[in-house]
Amino acid sequence: MKYDVVVIGGGPAGLGAAVEAKKTGAKNVIIIERDRELGGILNQCIHNGFGLHEFKEELTGPEYAEKFVNMAKENNVEYMLNAMVLEVDKNKNIVVLCENGVNYINAKSIVLAMGCRERTRGAIDLPGTRPAGVYTAGAAQRFMNIEGYIPGKEVVIYGSGDIGLIMARRMTLEGAKVKAVIERGSNSSGLTRNIVQCLDDFNIPLLLQHGITYIHGDGRVEGVTISELDNTKNPIEGKETFIPCDTVLLSVGLIPENELSSDMGVELHRGTRGPIVNNKMETNIDGVFACGNVVHVHDLVDFVTKESRIAGKNAALYALDKKAKQSKLIQTIQGEGVNYIVPQYIDVNCEDEVSLLMRVKDIYSNKKLVVKCGDKIILEKKRNHMVPSEMENIKISPNMLKFIDSSLEVCVEEVDVTMKEVALA
């Protein structure tokens, strides 16, 4: 089988990219999805808060997914379900295992949209026995919202990421007792609105600077030992407490799923753990693009959709041989206070505005984000409040890029007095 554009993954990133590739003029576009339906993790995210940017209304996950699945069908995007990509090579030959056996597909261009995976108990070396009842928060979410099973009655949640907070509320609503959310850091990694609406509303305690030091139970979880942590994140002796429970949910971070990418030679970034991309969302391999959580973990699906359009459009242009000639690539560099920036490279002759998406390292109040090229300041943006859990976005216009000859650095800096006056004026 031969296709113009093959999209690996049928979640929001894959759907957005496929629709855009079709709209840009690619003749045949196919999505390969390993689940039994399109939509990805959105199908299990039955809570609302999706789509405020994209559709200007507050939708639940399944509603957001259905809108995109319908768009894909209207645009004649093809798709394979229950299909797993086993291998992709540099010549864009794809090996797919599906219901009727092994299939070989050749693509003119590829969009990687495999999303991310949850970190597990093994990934965080959580000591104790190995009873049943320890789940990742996303697995528990699938059991409850799709399969219709409640994974336990008395729950301790480890990690205060958004999925953990959402699950604290969901399990409480369905009659379970959530005893506590345990967080190692001194701040929650979840959004404030989720702490208020998922924990405070139900009087669920959030224990900051605490860790689980042991999981107890023979056969099934019987409880956890938690301990207060010192500033180096080590347990403080004498500050342990035992909490009886039958279930432990882990919400301890997400990692982009890039086994396929790295096997085919796509270079990954150490900070994001996703492919290194340019402003077209193209990886180091010609004609291989990536978007969504496989590139870096987003906090809003709306931004995934935005990114997927860039990947889908450029994948189609590549397949149609209409790709603009690349002129000069410059690098984006994370400076003081910035954890990572996507894209890592920008073509200085690009025609579209480029969004620099980044995360800051710490919580900052009254600071500014400064974009520099050498000593030259290109752009400054004042920010009243920045937190690592909320992605920052700085837009660079094609006009600004004309004056750039070497790498772009973004850093967090103090707001000086004159800047304050400008902001107040």
Binding site: P62, V196, H385
Partner: protein
């Protein structure tokens, strides 16, 4: 009467203290007008959207996700959960279909948040 709440209007998450003096509310700790408005609503008549699932028969899937068409008084959330846990619907269902009309006399409907096909 005094309440301490965290504002959720924007990412700043201001901690606000709302004090009732006679018939008026005094909001402290907010940094904008929107925070003041949210704070007063939160202490006078807090409302929430509710999303959950109901059982569905005649489909590959067992659960149909649903939501309230508008926010409902916060204290009604668990009563509504009791109602939803007794509901059974049959496939096919279209997104937006009304599952329960005017639930608990709130004027708010329970609607399906996805389409589910019938098994042929």
């Amino acid at each position: 009467m005094q309440s301490n709440i965290t504002c959720i209007v924007c990412p700043m998450g201001c901690r606000m203290t709302i004090t009732k003096i006679d018939d008026r509310f005094n909001v402290e700790g907010n940094t904008c007008k929107r925070g003041e408005k949210y704070g007063i609503q939160e202490v006078t008549a807090p409302k929430r959207m509710l999303t959950s699932t109901v059982k569905i028969e005649g489909s590959v899937l067992h659960m149909l996700p649903v939501k309230t068409s508008d926010s409902i008084p916060k204290e009604m959330v668990f009563d509504l959960m009791d109602i939803l846990n007794k509901v059974r619907v049959n496939a096919p269902i279209r997104v937006g279909d009304i599952i329960i009309e005017d639930v608990l006399g709130t004027g708010v409907n329970i609607v399906a948040t996805r389409s589910i096909q019938k098994i042929s």
